[in-house]
Point group: D2
Chain length 162, copies 4
């Protein structure tokens, strides 16, 4: 059970590496959206879902609630980091062939506007900037329904054979 | 109720700004440790607690579990970001006088080793690097019981009047 | 005298703060392009020039040469950082009114492809991402004549009264 | 000829890759200090020298001058980035065996205090934080003769076979 809206009726879990290995990055991520693969536990803990993928792009949605609050009454900066890490690394993953994996080496987060439980659903959109043979970079942005920017960032991932 | 170990019996919530305003950063953070102030909701969602503060330093603890997992079976990078953002910004907060607040402008996370549900309790330790009049920077590290490093990072915060 | 191409016949120096204070960010930067204000010494040391500004945007050009090389025979990563810091912070500056200044708090550089003395002229283009009252963020990219990407990054600046 | 103090009488150039390949990282860097290998051109352009290396550590020195100034009369942030990139990546290089090379994937720079031509000689000290098989991270600090901090940062490098 999740404390967060929008995750009702979903199955939570991880996907065995033998299954992951047979799928391209895009196939794997599409399975998470379609529900043929389980939503990861972190999605339940933090209340966010993968919504859309295409080559070089991934989008998650999340509705900030009181459950994301820091001690002083606004959304903790870790939510923005979690959403940006997710959308940026999955954008990188969309470019991977079956048998390839990746590891995120680092990500960074600019927090430009506070989120609250009044913000409504936000979209975290990741886009690949550089797709290299060994490493890739991506950028991400978190925006609300009106396109207002809350956070942005970049990441560096390394591509590996699974 | 929290799905995570170590948070049993704690009260969760946020502290009103009128209360925050009367306390120095160190007094406020010590209240979170002592339990005179409630544990923030994000601590329940992600399963981490403030354990120790002193001037220029803050330490959180967390035990990674299956609940933190990403789709491919290891701890999501958002946990490291959440813990580092917490310990680095609270380290900055230890230096603030009553009536002063802060906002985190940006943070960045190096993920150097994956965490799993076998890692055991980790410590996220933040230390102020530069304490300026208007802005402060801090660094943070996540280590396990043996001192093995899992992630590190830095942050930039701006200091404000509440 | 500069060791670098494209800077022939330019005057080098800094602009007194009393002059800077009377100009909007855009007027000041346009003066650097037009030559009514001197090219800064760093432009001579590293061989780069401001080429174009408009609200929220700044572009520098530079032709990498042997003079930029590191010990192992490719362009030092400090050139990309210098160009990105320049274009990103000047993009922020284009939004400032007369009497406002700024300080760069931090910048970061992704080096995605090595530059050499065969690369030819590159453009470092900065664009504002978030223009806030107290702080601004910007992103930048270094591309060659064919649009090939060499480096990218982001920055955080704080806005001040001069 | 260099416009900068402290580089008199040094030879400038790059080292052929066949020579680099035969040396450990520490041997190569010690050769740059001893003068058995040439100072790189970037050292002449920006006026800095490698001073000390030991396993996991590298230190450069530089005396900021008017030649490093930005348009508004203080040292350009690109100098801090160039020095930090140098000391952090060379710290990583100290751990490499003969036949191994590295590429800097990204670096970031916190500018916490402005440098001027009155600052005097600064030291840029890099230290390895994580030395992995495929990737390494390092941190760096720029301090003056009194230990006052001007800038700090971190980097991610990937280790390669030459």
């Amino acid at each position: 059970m999740s404390n967060f809206p929008g995750l009702e009726g979903r199955t939570f879990g991880v996907t065995p590496v033998e299954t992951v290995r047979k799928l391209s990055g895009l196939e794997f991520l599409q399975g998470l959206i379609d529900g043929t693969l389980p939503v990861p536990p972190i999605g339940r803990a933090m209340g966010f879902l993968l919504k859309e993928v295409k080559p070089g792009y991934a989008c998650f949605t999340c509705t900030p609630t009181f459950e994301h609050y820091n001690p002083i009454g606004s959304v903790h900066g870790g939510l923005a980091g979690t959403l940006l890490d997710s959308c940026m690394s999955c954008a990188v993953q969309t470019n991977l062939a079956a048998g390839q994996g990746y590891t995120t080496l680092e990500y960074r987060v600019h927090l430009v506007r506070g989120m609250t439980d009044k913000t409504g659903e936000v979209r975290a959109e990741g886009r690949v900037v550089h797709a290299g043979r060994r490493t890739s970079t991506a950028e991400g942005r978190i925006v609300d329904a009106n396109g207002k920017l809350y956070a942005h960032g970049t990441t560096t991932c390394i591509v590996l054979d699974l």
